[in-house]
């Protein structure tokens, strides 16, 4: 189209110079002119400069044809193409405006998300600080593992929580308010190596169940808590000393943060 239009321009400029008369523009040309004026009053040229430039070139060609052959088919054709290209420019500008606002929204969402993550991190650190000496925290692939250690949880060969164990669990639940209950929890019970392995496995499960029951008493939804008994399989200390065995009689609370 460019080839014939540039050749045509030269020819018609010559013709127009010879003729030197004006005539009524076609409806198509009027429409294209109106669109050009409308576009000029908005920020369309700013948002879609290439499209506006193309439309203007077509309109300029239509004007040249109009000078030479007023209300001709070619004038109407070029004016129609110009009008179509002005509309393309308007639509493109509309789209780019939306996308620009959307990019701002996404950027603000990302900032908010970062702020939320930072708040969560601070809350986690605060909880860990508060529970220092009562429990230990580890971030693992399974989630956050809170280990409640020592003989203060259970007496040997018993699954009932000691009063001090309840205080500790209450502190853990308070410190982790918002996380316990919000994410699935698995409570793993562990036992020392005294007695038969099968018995210890059952005992460790009963211990985990005791912790679960207490957390449910504190208001955590029952269906969010799973219970497992690992028996004497995963010791964290020696079973040769009373102190080591006390530490092996432990409960681990696993918060599945990824769920």
């Amino acid at each position: 189209m460019k080839t014939w239009s540039s050749g045509l321009s030269v020819f018609l400029l010559f013709g127009a110079a010879c003729a030197g008369k004006t005539a009524e523009p076609s409806k198509s040309l009027v429409r294209a002119r109106v669109m050009e004026q409308t576009v000029a009053q908005t920020n369309v040229a700013e948002l879609a400069p290439a499209e506006v430039s193309k439309a203007k070139k077509l309109l300029a060609n239509a004007e040249i044809v109009h000078e030479k052959k007023p209300d001709s088919n070619l004038e109407r054709h070029l004016a129609n193409l110009a009008a179509a290209n002005f509309e393309v420019a308007v639509a493109e500008a509309h789209r780019r405006g939306i996308e620009s606002r959307q990019a701002e929204t996404l950027a603000s969402m990302s900032t908010k998300q970062s702020a939320t993550l930072e708040a969560e991190r601070k809350a986690r650190l605060a909880a860990e600080e508060r529970l220092r000496g009562i429990a230990t925290f580890r971030e693992t692939d399974e989630g956050t593992v809170i280990t409640l250690t020592g003989a203060v949880l259970f007496e040997s060969d018993k699954s009932d929580l000691l009063p001090i164990a309840k205080d500790r669990l209450r502190e853990v639940a308070e410190a982790l308010a918002g996380r316990i209950g919000a994410v699935p929890i698995v409570i793993e019970g562990h036992a020392d190596a005294q007695g038969p392995a099968e018995y210890n496995e059952e005992l460790s499960k009963q211990r985990a169940q005791s912790v679960k029951d207490f957390l449910v008493e504190l208001g955590v939804a029952e269906d969010r808590i799973g219970v497992e008994g690992h028996g004497e399989k995963d010791p964290i200390a020696t079973n040769a000393t009373p102190e080591g065995r006390a530490n092996n009689r432990r409960v681990e609370i696993i918060l599945d943060d990824e769920a």
Partner: protein, 123 residues
């Protein structure tokens, strides 16, 4: 000798010019078909009346162009129908892209709203 060469060159250029002006508008035909196909790929975003109007115009002009190009007396005129069809398709496509952008923005807004509400709940 130089005059003769210039004359030959001019005649050759004229012949090429005549041949190109009478050429079958194959490129315009390809452009028009490709433009319409591009619009039709935007299926879910073609619902608005404005887009449908441009789409109908593009299809009508394309059909007319295809009819005219098949006749040796009218094939040159087909160029104008193809160009108009491609222009109408371009307009439809631009509005379809705008409609898609609106949809994406609306989804994003809907996604953001519950988050804001839940933050308010926490506060």
């Amino acid at each position: 000798m130089q005059h003769r060469r210039l004359l030959l060159l001019t005649l050759f250029a004229g012949a090429v010019g005549c041949a190109s002006s009478a050429a079958v508008p194959q490129q315009q035909r390809v452009d028009a078909h490709a433009s319409l196909a591009a619009v039709q790929r935007m299926g879910p975003y073609l619902g608005s009346e404005r887009i449908q109007t441009h789409l109908a115009r593009a299809q009508d002009d394309l059909q007319e162009g295809d009819r005219l190009i098949a006749d040796e007396d009218t094939y040159e005129v087909a160029r104008f129908y193809y160009e108009r069809s491609a222009a109408a398709s371009d307009v439809a496509l631009a509005w379809a892209h705008a409609a898609r952008a609106e949809q994406v923005a609306s989804n994003l807004e809907a996604q953001q709203q519950p988050e804001e509400e839940s933050h308010e709940d926490v506060e």
